[in-house]
């Protein structure tokens, strides 16, 4: 097992899939000559050349539509969005074309495409460039939505996403690209639609996905110091959601804390909270807690920027509330 960074795990996934299937290609801003704004596509232009590795103008709506069209006629494109903040430009293409074509053509068309890039706040990027848009995409029937938190899942899930015949929105994070983790030398896939129990415990279930898995694990450690065994679940796929893994855990612990770095109103975490309330009602010994980003545009001031987001302390406090510890 090699220990590699998330960016290299993503690079290996793309490389292996391009090697395996010549219909796989990647387009986006700076993906070719510059080798990716976050160096995810390093070495690929040299190895596969244009147009399989294709730079585009700064036109998200245009190149996203280009990718969707190419997918409908037989390619398996990966569209890199430099950040999900820019993907808002291309929402019409994603929602009205990628997500609808299979349905509206009665199954005659399929759209095997991956939209990937960093989602959620990084640092010092202010309101327009710090948005966590998971609930926007997870809202749309016809899409699959994946959110990774480590190198192993990055590689395994991206390979599954590329091979999937449906449009897959694949969310990474700027701050995560350097995170290192063990990745097997041999080939493997992580199936879409399976959550992972990353830590077992029976006192409280902590549920999250993406970048906030870090504070969640730190909180679990802190709770362990205080004698609380937290179970930690990484959802990994937001759509379709692996509900059973969540329910099994909550039925065991009788308590759930959901951590979602998005906003609370109509947010993904709120949806998971509703599911738990509905399906585990008789098993709950406390209200379901949601740790979310504050309902404001991201402040530029760094102290405020950190204060509005979920943190280890907030997760610990929420867990203790549902445990009636304070």
């Amino acid at each position: 097992m090699a220990e590699i960074a998330v960016r290299d795990a993503l690079n290996q996934a793309i490389d292996e899939e391009m090697e395996r299937d010549e219909t796989v290609c990647i387009i986006g801003e700076e993906v070719a000559e510059y080798e990716g704004a976050y160096k995810v596509t390093r070495g690929l232009l040299k190895k596969y050349g244009a147009p399989r590795v294709q730079d585009t103008p700064i036109t998200e709506n245009g190149f996203t539509g280009l990718g969707i069209g190419a997918a409908m006629v037989g390619l398996r494109p990966i569209v890199e969005w430099m950040t999900f903040n820019f993907s808002i430009q291309a929402l019409d293409q994603v929602i009205n074309n990628a997500a609808k074509m299979r349905h509206m053509s009665g199954g005659q068309l399929k759209v095997p495409i991956v939209f990937r890039g960093p989602n959620g706040p990084a640092e010092y990027l202010s309101s327009q460039h710090s948005q966590a848009l998971q609930s926007v995409y997870a809202h749309i029937p016809g899409l699959k939505v994946v959110s990774i938190s480590n190198a192993y899942d990055a590689k395994g899930l991206l390979k599954s996403a590329i091979r999937d015949d449906n449009p897959v929105v694949f969310m990474e994070a700027e701050l995560m690209y350097g995170w290192k983790g063990e990745v097997p030398d041999e080939e493997y896939l992580v199936p879409i639609g399976e959550a992972a129990v990353q830590r077992e415990g029976d006192d409280v279930t902590l549920i999250s996905f993406g970048k906030t898995m870090r504070p969640v694990h730190e909180a679990a450690e802190e709770l362990a110091n205080q004698g609380v065994n937290a179970e930690v679940i990484d959802l990994r796929t937001l759509r379709p959601l692996d509900e059973e893994t969540v329910y099994a855990s909550v039925r065991k612990t009788n308590r759930a804390v959901i951590v979602d770095e998005g906003w609370p109103i109509a947010g993904y975490g709120s949806y998971v909270g509703w599911l738990i309330g509905k399906n585990c009602f008789d098993e709950l010994d406390a209200e379901v807690e949601l740790v979310h980003s504050e309902d404001v545009p991201m402040p530029y001031n760094h102290t405020l920027e950190l204060a509005v987001q979920p943190s280890t302390e907030k997760v610990v406090a929420a867990a203790k509330r549902v445990l009636y510890m304070e």
Partner: protein, 456 residues
């Protein structure tokens, strides 16, 4: 805008306080700094000074009632202001509060026993019987049929003092377990927020009916015997609860070990006699003991330390607490600060003042908290020797017995009579090892036997 006046923590260990008496009455105007009421905390009775200004519109917690830290005790605002919202809120909280008794500690699993006991204590005797009946009824027939359950809940809501709306707050899981086991949820005291019944409450409630039955049986026997009179139930006051909690924590968490030796008291007694000839007020033996302990601690700072879980604090100042019995009952340890740098006369003056206040219950929190070392002296009661429980945050406590004439034989078997005192040092092994404690105690003994050694 009318605002709640909240119970505040007036001592470091305070979790709730009892209103000893209101100094202001409803309608009085209040300025910041005015004394609103006196609050009996776990250690002392203290003035509650207002930080708010306006008119005292309503007293929520009257004389003698208790409130948890953070709970509203009164409402201050403008004369004539509408405070119905705050009143309703307080009424809801109060009703729920009554239901839970004073069980400040809600917890999961391990502490469930406590919640059950609290509930039972509040109802005393017959309440247990009452609780048994509806539960049995539930089992007999209409399992969780809502028609049968509703009237029972409503009746209980009034007797158990639940929310004014008559709704019993319970987690879904608690309801399910209660229904599975045929327990009427309305009879279960809730330990959660606002008196909510949670899983732990239902699980600990299970034993209650059986316990009540046994209680009834023994009571019946007692009636036929009828000679020694009824057993007395003594409510646990704040002081007793704090002693139970803190000393329980210390004894169960800190691994105690004990070192004992006897000291030839001729040196210290003659020093004291000489000193007392020169000073207007006699210096107590306790002041001497504090001084010698301080000198020994200066030489063995590892004993003047505290276990903090992931680190140890070695204190620079030697602050010695002396256990004092309060006249109203209970125990408190006033602390003489910085004993290492002070003379005996100075220490004694401080000690006399503190002991006076301690007996009357008038010590301020800063006068009784944070002892780095403690002494307990039961010599006056003729106790020869005993072992004391360490008083946190310190890591050792010295227990002093009485001074007794003892026959001592020298190497030639010549007997002489020597006044001797036995003292026992309790050490927290997490901080003080056997040899370290022994060195400290031996050093202290040698100083006491030859006071000039304190100069070495």
């Amino acid at each position: 805008m009318a605002e709640n006046v909240l119970m505040v923590a007036l001592s470091p260990t305070m979790e709730d306080g009892t209103i000893a008496g209101w100094s202001k009455k409803e309608g009085d105007s209040v300025s910041a700094g005015d004394v609103l009421c006196e609050v009996e905390t776990d250690k002392a009775t203290m003035d509650y000074e207002s930080t708010q200004e306006g008119t005292l519109l309503k007293i929520i917690k009257g004389d003698g009632s208790s409130a948890k830290v953070g709970e509203p005790i009164a409402i201050i605002g403008e004369q004539g202001e509408d405070i119905s919202d705050l009143e309703a809120e307080a009424a809801g909280g109060e009703a729920a509060g009554n239901g839970t008794g004073t069980g400040g500690e809600t917890g999961k699993g391990g502490e469930t026993g406590k919640g059950g006991e609290t509930g039972k204590g509040g109802e005393t005797g017959k309440g247990g019987e009452a609780a048994k009946e509806p539960a049995a009824e539930g089992r007999r027939g209409q399992r969780s049929s809502s028609g049968a359950k509703a009237p029972a809940s409503a009746a209980a809501a009034s007797t158990a003092g639940r929310g004014a709306s008559g709704i019993v707050k319970a987690s879904p899981l608690a309801r399910k377990i209660a229904s599975d086991r045929g327990i009427d949820i309305a009879q279960v005291p809730g330990s959660g927020p606002g008196g909510r019944v949670v899983k732990a409450d239902v699980e600990s409630f299970e034993g209650a009916p059986a316990a009540a039955a046994t209680e009834g049986a023994t009571e019946a026997r007692r009636v036929t015997a009828a000679l020694p009179g009824e057993d007395r139930t003594i409510p646990v006051n704040r002081m007793r609860a704090t002693i139970a909690k803190r000393l329980g924590e210390s004894k169960f968490r800190a691994p105690h070990f004990y070192l004992k030796l006897s000291v030839d008291m001729r040196g210290i007694l003659s020093a004291r006699t000489r000193l007392n000839k020169e000073v207007p007020e006699k210096v107590s033996l306790n002041a001497f003991m504090i001084k010698f302990a301080a000198e020994a601690l200066k030489r063995h700072p590892n004993v003047n330390s505290s276990w903090q879980g992931d680190h140890i604090i070695e204190y620079r100042s030697v602050d010695i607490g002396l256990a004092v019995e309060m006249s109203a009952g209970g125990l408190i340890t006033p602390v003489v600060r910085n004993c290492g740098n002070r003379g005996i006369v100075d220490i004694d003056a401080d000690l006399k003042e503190l002991i006076g206040k301690a007996r009357d219950g008038g010590l301020q929190p800063e006068e009784y908290s944070g002892a780095t070392f403690s002494i307990s002296n039961l010599g006056n009661f003729g106790i020869e020797e005993f072992t004391a429980i360490i008083n946190p945050p310190g890591s050792a406590i010295l227990a002093l017995g009485n001074t007794e004439k003892t026959a001592v034989f020298d190497e030639n078997d010549n007997m002489s009579v020597v006044p001797k005192m036995k003292m026992t040092l309790s050490c927290d092994h997490r901080v003080v090892d056997g040899a370290a404690g022994a060195r400290f105690l031996n050093d202290m003994k040698r100083m006491m036997e030859d006071p000039a050694r304190a100069l070495f």
